[in-house]
Amino acid sequence: MRREAIMRWLLPVIILVIALAAVPFANDYILYVLTIAVLMSTLAVSYDVLLGLTGYLSLAHGFLYGVGAYTAAYLTTNSGWNFWLAMLAAALMSALIGAIVALVAFRTKGIYFAVLTLGIGLVGFQFFLVLEPLTGGVGGFVGIPGIPSLPGLADDPSRNNLVVAIVLLAVTYFAALVFLRSSIGAACLAVREDVTLAQSLGIRVGTARLAAFTFSSAFAGAAGAVFAAISNFVGPDDFSVMATGFQVVVFVVIGGMGTLWGPILGAFLVVCLPEVLRGAATYSVAIYGILLLFFILFAPKGIAGAVLALRRLLPARPASVTQTARHSEAR
């Protein structure tokens, strides 16, 4: 756990430093890819609070991301709201709808939970198509204003987008860490490991699950708002179950469920890989599927698990010796 605690703080700092260091040098294309990777990391961290902490596989996360995107798009484009206010509203809207979804979905467990949230994801997608006055229907929502410039980045929207995405990731990550350390976070872990034991310890199982789902929805909504403003366009296809809903599962599982920092690695890998292997773009979704299958079969702890194992091999020799010594002494 000690090592994990170090990674938990070290990794985000490394990523932050690399990303910020890249800001002055990178061209617009690299900046865009990085921005999307950071945004997907935000989504992955928010999703890990649900999947990793509580062990419930929801396939409605893409829909909740979409709710945030459309809410912000509507408010900034049609109602002329300030972007920051609209992002807050998007987060609240996603949290509200997420809470309603959770109240229904947590009546079930296991595969039924997955099927029910898949159904919600599919119906939500239908709503994006049908509610044309709000969402623009099939054609999507066009002409969404960009993100207002931060001081010093006024004539550089690409860099501005990246910095805003990084700030959102940092806020999400920090909030997720606080959540994990809170009493509700501990309760979520208890629910994931053994619901009956959790109940017999007097843990409010329902409250813990609901809180995790709502938390996770809120930050998905905020990420959706940033996505809408960056793209200046949102269409239903971005939020289908098989696009985003499936992708977040891939990020979190191959990154390492429940670690919060692992999913960031997962998101970066999945987003950047097809960009590096240019020609492979058509195979990308197939590759996601194969990666997901590979990790769940052979490395269920994900990249994070491998990183920790590697660290254990390298400098930890003396430490593990003392640990055994102490242990045998205790006997």
Binding site: G55, L57, L59, V104, R107, T108, K109, G110, I111, Y112, A114, V115, L116, L118, G119, I120, L122, V123, Q126, V130, M242, F246, V249, V253, T282, Y283, V285, A286, Y288, G289, I290, L292, L293, I296, L297, P300
Partner: protein, 289 residues
């Protein structure tokens, strides 16, 4: 509007037959091995695609159906051996994620092989049967008959063969079955083979009436899960009856309320049923009765 009711019921029954046919294989695998075989929808899609390819090479449709279905059986066994067998003790979450992954991989492979655009097989059932009250397509009768025949086939295998006895024993109590010397490996292979066979037949036949495309299995498999909730996991007759009920309900909703609500209506049923009975209408107690 009421004079349309007989026609609506017939249409609902026809639609329901296709749902029942898909749910049958899913409920068998879920009931016996507790595996939520999400890629069952892709087995259905492959049944349709294989048939499309074979017919394209000039193979007679009625010969293409069994060949395609056998191809699907091989894929089904492969899914289990590659994806599920290794993580059988890893818990539900691992199985679900593996299922989701394989589902996507199969969809993508199909996209690479045949493209994302819908195809159609030239349908061999073109006739329409007319009666004073309703008319029904020949292909709808074929699907209806196929659903009942497949149910009968599975029932006979389960209840009139040694293999079936082993499968039922495994579904009731895995530990006890293993202690009695029943081999899990063969039960798994047999269960997946039968499940995939029915999925393949369903795709093969329905592909002759509906467009064939890589994600065509998604909606049916979701509905099949709804039917499992209505009919009980592992309950074969429940899959048939549940399929008919869902089909009729959807057609009635589409006909009398709004066609846009057809899918949302299904989903509403799922929500309501799960709220009343979180483990399905019949729970797990009904396995393979």
């Amino acid at each position: 509007m009421i004079e349309l009711l007989p026609q609506q019921l017939v249409n609902g029954l026809a639609l329901g037959s296709s749902y029942a046919l898909i749910a049958l294989g899913l409920t068998l695998v879920f009931g016996v091995l507790q595996i939520p075989n999400f890629p069952h929808g892709e087995l259905y899609m492959l049944g349709a695609s294989f048939t499309y390819v074979l017919v394209g090479y000039g193979v007679n449709f009625w010969l293409a159906v069994p060949i395609a279905s056998l191809g699907v059986v091989l894929v089904g066994i492969l899914l289990d051996q590659v994806g599920y067998r290794r993580i059988d003790r890893g818990g539900n979450l691992s199985l679900m994620i593996a299922a989701l992954a394989m589902s996507t991989v199969l969809q993508q492979v199909a996209t690479l092989l045949w493209g994302a655009e819908p195809h159609t097989t030239r349908t061999p059932f073109t006739g329409i049967l007319r009666t004073p009250y309703f008319s029904i397509g020949i292909y709808q009768i074929v699907i209806f008959a196929a659903a009942l025949l497949c149910w009968l086939f599975v029932w006979l295998v389960l209840h009139r063969s040694r293999l079936g006895l082993a499968i039922r024993a495994m579904a009731q109590n895995r530990t006890a079955a293993l202690l009695m010397g029943i081999e899990l490996t063969w039960v798994r292979i047999a269960t997946f083979a039968i499940g995939a066979l029915i999925g393949g037949i369903a795709g093969s036949l329905l592909g002759a009436a509906f467009p064939i495309y890589p994600t065509m299995g998604l909606n049916p498999v979701l509905k099949a899960f709804v039917i499992l909730v209505i009919g009980g996991v592992g309950n074969l007759w429940g899959a048939i009856v549940g399929g008919f009920l869902l089909g009729i309900l959807e057609i009635l909703v589409a006909g009398y309320i709004s066609s846009q609500l057809q899918d949302i209506g299904t989903f509403a049923i799922l929500v309501v049923v799960l709220i009343i009975r979180p483990n399905g209408l019949f729970g797990r107690a009904e396995v393979l009765r």
